[in-house]
Amino acid sequence: MNILKWFRSWEAALVGMLVAEIFVIGSIAPSFLNLENLLFSTSDFMHIMLAALPLTFVIITGGIDVSVVSIMGLSSITLGLSWVMGVDIYAAMGIALLVGTAAGLLNGLLVANTDIPPLVITLGTLFMYRGIATGLPGVLEILGFKAYGAAGFSAYMYEGITGLPGKFTELAHGSIGWVPYPLILVLLFAIFLALILQRTPFGRSLYLIGVNADAARFSGIPVKRTIVLAYITSGIGASLAGIMLASYFTSSRSDLGSEALLPTITAVVLGGTSILGGSGTVIGTLLASLFVGFLKQGLMAMGVTSDIVPVGIGSLLVLALVFKMAVATLNQYRMNRHALGVKDTI
């Protein structure tokens, strides 16, 4: 790979932005500039990274999955309920992952087999999964299972299912040296997804489907299967995020992650994935989600209340897109001038 070419890429710009951001915030709030602090603060937004990384696949195909925020809560509550019903905590994690896979499978099947816009389908499943997540404990109660912890129903409504075993909560709180487990999980997941996207026929066909699904079908790519797999990946990522959130907050709730939609999509789009499909990288999403996450942490370290954080993230999202569009328009203009033989004046 040409190193000079890499320096002009969007990922390089993101690395620059990330470094600049850390130093700007650090110069205002010196306590922020502490490696240990920085590494551990990633745990606060690991669910955004875990959901955004596989969402990249879906957006590359030209789709979108807004139901990830509900899959987080659904997985989290499934985990808690399975555990309360006496399932071993590791098996409960497996069940939660299976639920996430099934949720992604349903999204994928509906998107691949109809011409209904993915936004409509995942909007429907967003409501459905969220409703199931809030209603599930009640069903188990009717079926005669003891769905709540020792504290009873009112305590459950207030604080979720608490008292999860220590070996489970350790997953989000433990660390190897200064590197917390969640960050390790995120990095491994990112490497795994990046390899799939760059090195397998499945990964490459995602791009072709995003550019032109008809052309992909005529080239013999199993379009439906690929789309279904992309949504399943997204469901698994959201499910992992839900499990880690339950571990991080030491309680399993149905509304965990419900605020994550804006930062998650911001991370993917800021990472260079085109919302229209056809381009994007996992590394870009990883860097952008770090940028978004540190922005949030940095604003809080600067003493800004958490209310203003969405303003920051929202402005960032819009500005990033305005910038990208401006660069694209400028390039187009240059190419047009070049093709006409006019001397480049800019």
């Binding site: 936004l119 969220r130 009640g138 999509i265 919302i275 954080v309 969405p310 819009v318 305005v322 569009m325």
Partner: protein, 340 residues
């Protein structure tokens, strides 16, 4: 033939399903069919109805606006603050509508002049408006809205609430305008085929600009109803309404691919979603199943619609093929007869 025409009108299909559901609930719990309870459902759908009609314009032009809920919240906060600062009621309402319009204008400028994809632009402004709302109020609810303003919600005319009258008049006006006014058809033309519309000389940019501004304005109007009806402005005002507004439109037959739909779609969809909410109360199902039922119904309706469209296109194609084969056969058979 007639049946096909009717089936293609999604508003009617959904309205019939809605009627069926209302009758079914009435069968199980007759008190639901009392005019009072039906009017109460209608009254509680007004907020969503107004947001949905605004959203409809954007969807018609093949755009999407997920910031309308946040605009409603921001307008409500401005309205509440203004009322508590003893601003006269008409002034405060105008202010709220202007804030809504301004919110829509910001979206329009970003989407049309900076060419930011609509979902990204409005997702960004969703965060910005919601944050601004929290900054203005510093996170606390606005309470003690003047009684004079709250009484607007309870005042009625001919046994029906004032707001219902106003909203119905708005819906009828918008419906008539979108059917009769040439300029209103531009929304459909732009959504159906943007380049074609441009080549026909339709002001595409202006039309889209108007669509996002109208979405903001209607979201502001929803805030006016909200503050009067609820009487306080909580921080989650309008949150999640953008998704419900899109769902209402899709239910009622507005196509996200642009160019299809009517204000009646938004109206029927909004009532539908609220009937589901009330239905669960009347059927004594715990309220936290609302989302699951609403999501499932949305999916079922779009899937049924997909199946109907699929069958219709297949049948049309078959008819065309048959017509072709008949046309090919006729001359040859005539020739054969002549020889005999």
């Amino acid at each position: 033939m007639k049946l096909r025409r009717l089936l293609q009108s999604r508003e009617l299909v959904v309205a019939l399903i809605l009627l069926g559901i209302i009758l079914l609930i009435g069968f199980i719990n007759p008190s639901f069919l009392k005019p009072d309870s039906l009017l109460a459902v209608l009254n509680s759908s007004l907020i969503l109805m107004l947001i949905s009609i605004g959203e409809m314009f954007v969807l018609l032009t093949r755009g999407i606006d997920v910031s309308v809920g946040a605009i409603t919240g921001l307008s409500a906060v401005i309205l509440g603050t203004a009322l508590n600062a003893n601003v006269p009621i008409p002034m405060a309402i105008t202010l709220a509508l202007l804030v809504g319009l301004a919110g829509g204008l910001v979206n329009a400028i970003g989407i049309i002049y900076f060419k930011v994809p609509p979902i990204i632009m409005t997702l960004g402004t969703l965060g910005i408006y919601r944050g601004t709302m929290l900054i203005i109020t510093e996170g606390s609810w606005i309470e003690r809205i003047p009684q004079a303003y709250k009484s607007l919600a309870s005042s009625s005319f001919g046994g029906i609430k004032l707001f219902i009258w106003i909203t119905l008049i708005i819906v009828i006006t918008v419906t008539v305008l979108t059917r009769r006014l040439k300029q209103a058809r531009y929304f459909y033309a732009v959504g159906d085929n943007e380049e074609g519309a441009y080549l026909l000389g339709i002001p595409v940019k202006l039309t889209k600009f108007l669509a996002y501004s109208l979405a903001g304005l209607f979201a502001g109007a929803a805030a006016v109803v909200f503050v009067a009806q609820i009487g306080v402005v909580p921080m989650q005002t309008g949150s999640g309404q953008e998704l419900r507004a899109i769902a209402a439109n899709v239910l009622g037959g507005v196509n996200l691919a642009g160019g299809v739909g009517s204000p009646v779609s938004a109206l029927v969809g909004a009532i539908f979603l609220n009937v589901i909410d009330s239905m669960l109360i009347f059927l004594k199902v715990p309220g936290y199943w609302n989302d699951a039922v609403a999501g499932a119904i949305l999916l079922v309706v779009v899937l049924i619609d997909y199946r109907i469209r699929q069958t219709l296109t297949v049948r049309q194609r078959q008819e065309r093929l048959q017509a072709k084969t008949i046309a090919e056969r006729t001359p040859r058979s005539l020739v054969v007869k002549e020889i005999e």
